[in-house]
Symmetry: C2
Subunit: 112 residues, 2 copies
DNA sequence: TGCAATACATAGTTATGCAATGTATTTAGT
DNA sequence: ACTAAATACATTGCATAACTATGTATTGCA
């Protein structure tokens, strides 16, 4: 009945959260874009469109939170690998703190 | 250093989440708008601007998730009280399920 | 008298997710 | 050999929502 409302809401909820997710994943090791999409799909069940991720990675790069490097493959299309920067790690720490407080707050509200 | 990035990110993260918070609060009892702002501020440390909440309540009403009623006061300005509808309760259940899965997924990523 | 708090509301700005579309290479199936 | 799907990147335009700024109006306090 309210499927449309819920669908729109789910899109809105992803705003900002996807940056948090991507930075946390890149905090473990380097990834290329297409790989990130699969990783997010597998580990979180979050659907992320290509038209969402690539601009997102560009924004992270422009904010100096990640750097990128083209890597030629033995066969196939070259991949652009992304690495988190020192700045990215520092910022991520603050995002994670904010996120933790936020979710704890909401937990209190939903379970009373 | 990246205060600007973090500040923008915090705004983006609130998108959708504020609707979840408001619906959960209204699921306990009726509130008027101004009261909701204080309630959210006190219980969650989430800052919500008036220019955010009032349009949000209008959207919830237009989606038939809440209804509103003007209530005259013995003294002072009349208050517009909001009540969650049956439709709102059903929708809220689904939002809470999605939210729970989402936060659990992110928890896995941030703590590895 | 004037300022802060209460209580509602809207217009314009800004940012992001997403569908649609595009390019190019490789692989698997028939 | 041909075709479709998968891989891998990217951009344009639309819809949506948070926020700043601004506005109206009442009440209480210094």
């Amino acid at each position: 009945m309210n499927e449309e409302f819920i669908h729109k809401w789910e899109s809105q909820v992803k705003k900002g959260i996807l940056e948090l997710v991507v930075l946390n994943i890149l905090n473990n090791r380097d990834y290329y874009g297409y790989e990130l999409i699969e990783e997010i799909r597998n580990y979180t069940l979050i659907e992320i469109a290509e038209g969402t991720l690539y601009p997102l990675l560009i924004r992270l790069k422009e904010s100096n939170l990640v750097i990128s490097e083209w890597v030629e493959q033995d066969s196939g299309i070259p991949r652009k690998y992304y690495s988190i920067t020192l700045d990215g790690k520092k910022t991520l720490k603050e995002l994670n703190i904010y996120w933790e407080n936020l979710t704890r707050s909401i937990q209190k509200i939903t379970t009373r």
